[in-house]
Assembly symmetry: C2
Homo-oligomer: 201 residues x 2
């Protein structure tokens, strides 16, 4: 592709590094930028630079944060004995949106995935084990993806905490609310039969 | 949606102003930025700011340009009597990619669209008429979208140049190469029958 200006080519190349954005979408974004007032574009550019320069991570749970500790860890209303282990920030936001969980979090920063070169050393396991031992955690809720990588990570955590008294639970897997049985895949359906629960009225 | 940090919220809000990017995609982009080295993120932010601050528009055809005149207008190899009228930069790039056109361009900056509040005064018509009168243009090729707005714009240009000697042509409409008749819509098929051309072997 021949771009009419080096400046445009630079921005297209930078923007197309984002996941899910190719050269064509990047060019559309550039044309959008060119039509905007200069002040707005400068604001965007500066907010991107500030994000990376000023962002803090919570020293306790590794969530992003404006200060030393994140809003959730600092909140007096949260149950500080219930610890939910998640992969990244988006999972925290997804669980927070349900309003069904009142404990605190621990962000691993990913899941164990040898194929992508991510082993236990790349993830926040050491601080997790320390927290379980030092913070009087009574329940560890594993909220990891229902993938082989998520299962491996859950297994690794349970092995590491073998001698500990903490109760480990995992979010339930099964047929999604509103889902019809005939369209469910066999593995999900099979697991949901094996992991059946008492019927409550 | 509750964001864990004001910095993240700012960038998500800025990024979700792009066409086709919602809050969820913007958040994915932010997480991608957080995982990148600081130098790369600064480079992205600065290239966005530079784009808007340093970009020039060709004084002749309104194409974006690094200098006063764009690469195409400055080229001695181009036919300076053949002028192709397009909506925006992407159309120039699309036509250039075909390698089938060797003339110069004029970018209108849009098409007449009363519903979006775009009338003739918002577009580069005055400079187009001036160029046709002063630059010895022999042929004006209208390469506008096959939409009511594109047709209106083409009609407006032809009316404006009523007394002029310039020959006005438009890119052909019809069944796309590789397209099957049974899947073509009726209007395209109807027009392609009316606008049939002599068969060449």
């Amino acid at each position: 592709m021949n771009y009419p200006s080096q400046l445009i080519e630079d921005v297209v190349n930078e923007l197309s590094k984002f996941p899910g954005i190719g050269k064509k979408s990047a060019l559309r974004m550039v044309l959008h930028l060119l039509k905007k007032p200069e002040s707005e574009v400068v604001k965007l550019g500066e907010s991107v630079i500030n994000l990376r320069k000023l962002i803090n991570y919570c020293k306790r749970c590794h969530n992003v944060s404006d200060g030393d500790f994140c809003r959730i860890c600092s909140s007096l209303k949260r149950n500080q004995q219930q610890l939910c282990v998640v992969e990244d920030l988006r999972d925290v936001m997804a669980i927070e949106n349900t309003s069904q969980y009142n404990g605190i979090y621990h962000i691993l920063g990913g899941v164990i995935s040898p194929i992508n070169g991510i082993g236990p050393d790349e993830l926040n396991f050491v601080s997790l084990i320390n927290r379980v031992q030092n913070e009087k955690i009574s329940e560890l809720v594993l909220a990891l993806s229902a993938t082989p990588e998520g299962d491996t990570t859950a297994f690794y955590i349970s092995k590491k905490l073998n001698g500990s008294k903490v109760q480990i639970s995992t979010i339930s897997r099964g047929i999604a609310i509103g889902g019809e049985l005939e369209y469910a895949d066999e593995i999900t359906l099979g697991r949901s039969i094996l992991a059946r629960i008492p019927y409550k009225t």
